[in-house]
Symmetry: C2
Subunit: 232 residues, 2 copies
């Protein structure tokens, strides 16, 4: 699933409401239409878009009536800061190997007692999982702030290190990502020969280095290993 497609999907309130309903249980079109107070034609249209992403699927029940359910575990993260814009989508197929078929026989009292104790145990595990999720979310946010602050300190260092504004632009771009001369040239709309001259100057000064991928040079900031001790 493409992130842009998913953000377009989530940008509509009714589609968000449909996902919320389906995350509770599978639904017929008529149910969704009734709960949202929106005509079935519009609902079918939204469901079609959702189906295209693979996030929901359509099935047919015993009476041959169509219903919809969520078909995937999807997670999308958007992180925006003064130095970064990142969107990531993760999906994981639903794993139903644990889902045992329900017997039509009457459940015995012994089975009920067993299931009761299993349920309260499962409930505890669910609480645990949720609190772990909250903790990870807090950590993620902490890292994002850390990243943002690191970039701020870098801006100061770049100001001091660069001989001219173009060098500063190049260093800033390389801090975020590896780049070829061609992609730097394209991003800054500056002729490759100018980029190349600055890049070589900085390479000589031991500021940046390149790696070869697919026969192309990708430039990046030198990663510190050698402790330079020439601070007088």
């Amino acid at each position: 699933m493409e992130s842009a497609q998913m953000l377009d999907i989530l940008g509509n309130e009714n589609r968000r409401k449909i996902l919320q309903l389906l995350s509770d249980r599978p639904c017929y079109v008529s149910e969704i239409s009734g709960r949202l107070g929106v005509g079935p034609k519009a609902i079918i249209n939204h469901l079609g878009l959702l189906e295209d992403t693979g996030l929901i699927e359509c099935r047919v029940d015993d009476q041959r009536r169509k219903y919809f359910n969520i078909a995937d575990n999807m997670r999308i993260e958007v992180a925006v800061s003064p130095h970064s814009y990142a969107v990531s989508v993760h999906t994981a197929p639903i794993n139903t190997r644990y889902h045992l078929k329900h017997d039509d026989d009457e459940t015995s009292e012994v089975q009920k007692a067993y299931a009761t104790s299993a349920l309260t145990e499962l409930n505890r595990e669910i609480r645990n999982t949720k609190s772990k999720q909250d903790e990870l979310a807090r950590k993620q946010q902490g890292l994002q702030v850390e990243f943002s602050e690191l970039m701020d300190v870098c801006m100061d260092a770049i100001d001091k290190v660069a001989d001219n504004p173009l060098q500063a632009e190049i260093l800033y771009a390389l801090l975020k990502n590896e780049h070829s001369i061609a992609s730097l040239s394209y991003n800054f709309t500056i002729h490759p020969s100018h980029i190349s001259a600055q890049v070589l100057t900085m390479a000589k000064r031991g500021l940046i280095e390149y790696t070869i991928k697919d026969k192309q040079q990708y430039w990046k900031i030198l990663e510190s290993e050698n402790e330079t001790g020439d601070e007088q």
Copy 2:
């Protein structure tokens, strides 16, 4: 910032492109308009919506020209699975205490050498932070799958434990969240007296319990502590 407002903002391709541009550096309206190939009127409209969320802000440069920059660290996560729909938005104000003002004096060679070594060190820290972020994202996704699988097992247990479909519905709702009788009644559009009768039956059987908040009873699945050993 409300999550619905933020998802509406991100649901538009041009607004996403504007955020991406600003995450690189502050921009004038004319720059944004040029880069996106979209008229300035439409851009100003998008910028206004973005400004309303507090995510970007407008400033004035030395020549009294307006420019825009990102004003916040924002992180939004949407997780959808067959048993959950969760949207969370975290924001953290930009912390600029590390950002030292750049001296207008010429930087000395010694300062340059020092800044160079600082930059390569910072670069390493940035790579570390990024790989930690990737790791947390993987863990988050793992937990979401775990949660989804736990819910599947719970569905089986609920099928066995419940005396009737309404009890099953109530248990499923309580597994996700604590609820008052009133909110269960509202969600299922079933009269509170019917809900109440089922809830009391299940409480007697030691399946659920309540806590008091703001003088109201909130029901939840019993959390396992007492090992029930009556499995024959």
